[in-house]
């Protein structure tokens, strides 16, 4: 009797210790995770001369000065370019990618697996593999610095992603839905537009958001292909690093301008996020 009591006591104590250690681990990890985010916030809301001092000013009167000067300066233009490119490239990806995803989900021909493998391969290939030859193509065609050149580059990752992801969402919709629509007299096109597409819309919306996030945060291709009249916000941030490293406040504020919309979009797409990270539930 006594031994069982002491056994349950130690096991309870051990479980409580385990729970404490788990929480402690999570909190310590969280401090590391929040460190750069705190830095961005602390620096962006600080007067430029107070930012980046030793010791850091953790307690201060927040100012919107940095954001205001960004909005009134060149950065506003960069934000606009980013919005245009994000919208344009995502529209192209959806318009061409969604029908392809649907067809791929419905066809069992021998090449469809090869096409899927090709899409995944295209998606995970490092951007530079495309950027180097695309640069030559654009140079020869006189496209360098245009929106078109950048949208075409964005499609190197948006199109494979869109086709692959929507294929997954369409696969979730049973074929019998198409077939009964056909029997009811719908053309293939009409069955797709009136029956299947509405059912897949939540999934497509998620893909659209993930596409938009990808284009909005894209940095390296935009750095190579953009001209001053198409320069995106991430590229503008990099120019600040090069030009004016002393003004960390402006830099942090600009970074927040890029980060906050992504957070908002991610909050909207929350449920699809994991599926997006795991590339369309590749692992089921």
């Amino acid at each position: 009797m006594a031994s069982t009591v002491s056994f349950t006591l130690t096991s309870r104590r051990r479980r409580r210790a385990g729970r404490f250690l788990a929480t402690a681990g999570l909190v310590i990890g969280l401090l590391f995770i929040l460190l750069p985010i705190f830095w961005l916030l602390e620096t962006a809301f600080q007067k430029p001369r107070d930012a980046f001092t030793v010791p850091p000013h953790f307690i201060f009167l927040p100012t919107l000065e940095n954001f205001r000067s960004l909005v009134h300066g060149q950065f506003a233009g960069s934000l606009l370019h980013s919005v245009i490119l994000m919208t344009g490239s995502t529209a192209v990806a959806l318009l061409l990618g969604v029908p392809a995803g649907y067809a791929l989900s419905r066809s069992r021909f021998r090449g469809s697996r090869a096409i899927t493998a090709w899409l995944i391969g295209a998606y995970i290939t490092p951007a530079l593999i495309y950027i180097v030859p695309l640069y030559v193509i654009y140079q020869q065609l006189g496209l360098t610095g245009s929106y078109l050149s950048m949208i075409l580059y964005y499609e190197t990752f948006q199109m494979p992603f869109t086709i692959f992801m929507t294929r997954g969402y369409f696969t979730d919709i049973p074929r019998s839905f198409d077939e009964s629509a056909w029997i009811d007299g719908c053309s293939r096109w009409l069955a797709f537009r009136k029956v299947i597409l509405p059912l897949a819309l939540p999934g497509i919306a998620t893909v659209a958001i993930l596409d938009a996030i990808g284009a909005w945060g894209e940095y390296f291709g935009a750095l190579i292909f953009s001209s001053p009249s198409t320069e995106t916000a991430p590229v503008a941030i990099y120019q600040y690093v090069g030009l004016d490293v002393s003004n960390w406040s402006a830099l942090a504020a600009a970074a927040l301008f890029v980060v906050v919309p992504i957070m908002v979009l991610t909050a909207v797409a929350q449920r699809g996020l994991v599926r997006g990270i795991t590339a369309g539930g590749l692992i089921g």
Binding site: G25, V54, A117, E179, A252, L282
Partner: protein, 332 residues
């Protein structure tokens, strides 16, 4: 094929075929059907197109993917045999000169070595921390959803923003990391300027977003796992460690493999951190192959040589790519 023709026959007598059925009918859109005459030809074309819907609908998408991915890759391989320079775009076939050059280029050797170090250490650290984190986040504790939400934050911070933040945090004289070190009484290293600490610094910044990425993938796998075997093992008196090794880990194997390959690909692709945080330096200490391709092509202007380096990068990535393909096939 029989199924297609029978449904075609059904369709011929339906309202969907405008013009054929007369003006009384309406399309599914609810719009009235236009009259006969020239429209009949249009209807026939439409029907012809619709019968080929599953070939025609995906075509524009596939053509675009091919145009922006296959064409550049083929052209890139061709360019790797030339001496193309962006400044004066006249070029000559140079045969194997670029490839012979990269075999003997000590900078390339260094870049390949750095790539292996960065990808190898990054993968191991991110997998261990990510799996540990996922196990902690999978516990049904109070307030755990707050932790789950906060740990996703690094995935939402654009690469350029986190690169800027880490560059500032690791600044020798006024960065927060060295400030914390000084408060605790530790020596304050020259993080980004010393060849010994530059690579670990970039790794730290990559782990910051890589470990949570692994954690979220693994957490999804953990939460989807059946609870019964774990409960049964616990009833039979298995310790937590035994349960982890014998039940959780084997069940998670496909998820772990996916997360590992996914991270490996991303580690090979990392470039913003190198460009913004260290610029590949000091010297060549943090010049990985991906970054070296960029420098050679766009900073030094040797595009032909850069293309050859890009081919080398693909060759280096064939192993992770093949693993990815195998995973995809197994799940299919």
């Amino acid at each position: 094929m029989a199924r297609a023709s029978s449904s075609d026959a059904t369709r011929a007598a339906t309202p969907a075929d405008r013009g054929v059925t007369g003006q009384a009918a309406a399309t599914l859109d609810g719009r009235p059907v236009p009259g006969r005459g020239g429209v009949a030809v249009l209807a026939r074309i439409r029907r012809w197109l619709d019968r080929r819907f599953f070939v025609l609908a995906p075509l524009p998408g596939f053509v675009l993917v091919a145009a922006v991915t296959l064409v550049p890759i083929v052209l890139g391989i061709y360019l790797s045999f030339t001496n193309y320079q962006p400044i004066h775009p006249t070029y000559q076939w140079s045969g194997l000169v670029n490839y012979r050059g990269l075999v003997h280029d000590p900078q390339v050797h260094q870049a390949v070595k750095n790539t292996v170090i960065f990808a190898g250490f990054g993968l191991v650290i991110e997998m261990i921390l990510g799996v540990g984190l996922a196990l902690l986040l999978a516990r049904p504790a109070r307030g755990i959803s707050v932790f789950r939400t906060l740990y996703v934050l690094p995935l939402m911070v654009a690469g350029i923003a986190s690169a800027v933040a880490w560059r500032a945090l690791l600044n020798t004289s006024s960065g927060w990391i060295n400030y914390l070190f000084s408060v605790v009484g530790l020596p304050q290293p020259n993080w980004l300027a010393s060849p010994h600490t530059a690579m670990p610094s970039v790794l730290l910044a990559d782990v910051w977003s890589g470990a949570p990425t692994v954690a979220i993938i693994v957490l999804a796998g953990l939460l989807a796992m059946h609870k019964d075997p774990v409960e049964a093992a616990r009833v039979d008196g298995a310790t937590d460690w035994q349960i982890f090794l014998r039940i959780t880990l084997p069940a998670l194997r496909p998820v772990l493999a996916f997360a590992a390959v996914f991270r490996l690909v991303d580690l090979f692709r990392q470039i913003a951190l190198f460009q913004v945080v260290t610029g590949g330096g000091p010297g060549l200490a943090t010049t990985v192959l991906n970054f070296f391709v960029y420098q050679t092509t766009f900073v030094f202007g040797e595009l032909g040589y850069g293309a050859a380096l890009a081919v080398l990068l693909i060759v280096m990535m064939i192993i992770p790519l093949a693993l990815f393909a195998r995973l995809a096939r197994r799940s299919a």
